[in-house]
Amino acid sequence: MIEITPDPIDVQKVMDAAFSPDCGGVVVFIGTVRNFSRGKDILRLEYDAYPEMAIKMLERIVDEIKGKWDIRKVAISHRTGVLKIGEIAVVIALSAPHRKDAFAACQYCIDRLKEIVPIWKKEVAIDGETWIDDHA
């Protein structure tokens, strides 16, 4: 399951999609909007995406993961639109026969997502708006 959605993410649904009865566990990363960034109080975030390409790149990351670790199922949901403090922007869940692999793959997945997936966030603070460049 891979989705880019304007609706609130159902964490349970993403976890269920990653569950595999032959694995001892699921590792989940839940990215939320934090209240403070780069020295500013944040009011809200606005996420823009190139959804078709974002899905293609997420599928590529899943392929990369499956080439590196023994992983059963991966589920990724990324939200777009306006998000308030504490709201969930992304959920990545995956299952592996060995939990060490699941941890490594989940971390790789969020790292790569931030590198290559065409999704952008604009931080709206009291004194203005900024499109974030994490790589600057």
Binding site: A49, Y50, M53, H78, L113, K114, V117, I119, K121, D134
Partner: protein, 80 residues
């Protein structure tokens, strides 16, 4: 031949639209289209850096475009 160009995030705000078409009589590279866009939309220079994607694959400026191709201007991504 006609190329569709897509803008997102800061790029969309600088250009003031999310999509436009450009027609060329003969084959062009990504770099040539970009040059034309910079001439037409000088505010694009305010974008600190960008990547380019042709038909949803990251591409370099040398890539030659075909009729119907979709070129996307990709500002630095910041998902998650």
């Amino acid at each position: 031949m006609t190329i569709t160009i897509k803008f997102f995030a800061l790029g969309r705000e600088l250009v003031g639209k999310s999509e436009l078409q450009k027609s060329y009589d003969e084959s062009v590279t990504v770099g040539k289209v970009l040059e034309d866009l910079r001439a037409e939309y000088p505010r694009l220079a305010q974008m600190p850096s960008m990547l380019l994607a042709v038909n949803m694959e990251y591409s370099g400026e040398d890539t030659v475009l075909k009729d119907g191709d979709e070129l996307a201007i990709i500002p630095p991504v910041s998902g998650g």
